[in-house]
């Protein structure tokens, strides 16, 4: 185990969903995936960047979470992209319903 540093350094953090956007390459790096794979998420409509082509694409801060979840589903459960897209939609619906239950204290 590393020793604790002598001086106390507190790192500042930014909230990705609110303060960050990603270029195509940045999003690939943040999601540990290839350009081809990331493109296929766009082609499937899972991600909706602004801009004309990969060189111009700009993704909002929510894209990282969506992309990582879609990639996990394809990698870890061997889902095809269509299935992953469907599961993401169903998870969003599920979350909306759970959120109603949570508001009412029934969850």
């Amino acid at each position: 185990m590393n020793a604790m540093p002598m001086s106390r350094v507190v790192f500042d953090a930014v909230v990705v969903e609110e303060d960050c956007s990603f270029t195509f390459i940045q999003l690939c790096q943040a999601c540990h995936t290839s350009g081809a794979q990331m493109r296929s998420l766009v082609d499937e409509g899972i991600l909706q960047p602004q801009g004309e082509g990969p060189g111009d694409w700009l993704f909002d801060g929510e894209a990282m979470r969506t992309a990582r979840m879609a990639l996990r589903l394809t990698r870890e459960l061997q889902f095809g992209l269509e299935a992953a897209a469907l599961v993401l939609d169903l998870l969003a619906q599920n979350e909306a319903l759970r959120s109603r239950l949570r508001r009412e204290g029934r969850l």
């Binding site: 500042d12 540990h32 290839s34 979470r65 870890e76 959120s99």
Partner: protein, 330 residues
């Protein structure tokens, strides 16, 4: 180091075929996948299942594991504590060929020390962990991901948080060992569950002078005794007495930033929602705080209390709480 029973983790026999192992893994992976599962402790269960699959689906790794398990049993049969040394885990070598494992979105969330010790670098590479885009040779360091639980109050005040991160480090012989490092991060005010923090340059170091990767922290909140979170809004149940609900009252109500006086309008019913605008989670667009009224009936456990209820009944001869049900009985 704890020995892991990978066959038990997948619920299969020792002599299960690769197909049986694969099927067992897929079924359990769907059941416990943290993105889809609501099972308690899904994440740890999923990791255990993924690790077992990773170890057993590759014939070389499975053979090494079986050998280790057999030696352990022999030692136990002789009444000895199992000591894999000398030389373990260097006893086993792996070509990395024929590996079929495609697992478990590790990033910083790694397999056990047991797995790393047994399979080392070969296990990691063959398994494709960290997925694909790991830079080779010279290039920027990879981005890392981890998750932290913060206290509900941290988002109101902003807070400094010490987090421990475990990550695999390869020694010159290619063996992976787990190292732990601690960093302190300032949690910005207004962060919400499910959001991510980015710490620039705190991921994997770059090679050849290239920049380090970033560290992403997914935020989870520890549950709060009173407040329920829905997006940026907070909800809580506010108990009031029947007379407060009927006549109106000013009551003390908790908010995350301290107590406030809340006016209960006369004629309130159970379930009525009172909104305190902007008192939800802070942020650029602060959420609202909702108090849901609950009528708390005093118990009729004394003569005076029973007399009061009797007087109440006498005062409302026309009151029929079941009017809406009338005529609906079969």
């Amino acid at each position: 180091m704890d020995f892991k029973d990978y066959y038990q983790a997948l619920g299969v026999e020792r002599n299960a075929t690769q197909d049986v192992i694969k099927r067992a893994y897929r079924k359990l992976a769907r059941k416990y996948h943290p993105d889809v599962s609501k099972e308690p402790d899904a994440e740890n269960r999923f990791k255990a299942v993924a690790e077992a699959h990773e170890a057993l689906i590759d014939p070389e790794r499975r053979a090494a594991y079986d050998d280790l398990a057999r030696r352990r049993e022999q030692a136990q049969a002789r009444g000895q504590a199992f000591d894999p040394a000398p030389g373990w885990p260097g006893d086993y070598e792996f070509s990395g060929r024929g590996a079929e494992g495609r697992s478990a979105g590790g990033d910083d969330a790694d397999f056990s020390d047991f797995f790393a010790s047994l399979f080392g670098r070969a296990g990691r590479q063959a398994g494709g962990r960290g997925a694909g885009a790991r830079p080779t040779g010279h290039g920027p360091g990879a981005d890392h991901h981890a998750r932290i639980d913060i206290a509900f109050e941290d988002t109101y005040r902003g807070a400094d948080h010490t987090i421990s991160l475990r990550h695999a480090v390869l020694d010159p012989q290619g063996h992976a060992t787990m190292q732990q490092r601690q960093i302190e991060v300032h949690i910005p005010k207004g962060v919400r569950p499910g959001q991510h923090l980015r710490l620039a340059g705190q991921g994997e170091p770059g090679e050849g002078g290239a920049p380090a990767g970033d560290l992403y922290l997914e935020i989870a909140f520890r549950p709060h005794a009173h407040f329920r979170i829905d997006g940026a809004d907070l909800w809580f149940d506010l108990p009031v007495s029947p007379w407060e609900a009927a006549l109106g009252a000013s009551v003390n109500a908790p908010t995350p930033e301290g107590e406030v006086q809340l006016s209960i309008p006369a004629g309130s019913v159970a379930g009525r929602k009172l909104r305190l605008k902007g008192r939800g989670l802070p942020g650029k667009q602060p959420g609202d705080l909702y108090a849901v009224l609950q009528i708390a009936l005093p118990s009729a456990d004394s003569d005076a209390a029973r007399a009061a209820y009797t007087a109440l009944a006498a005062a409302f001869p026309q009151h029929d709480p079941r009017r809406a049900l009338e005529g609906r009985t079969p």
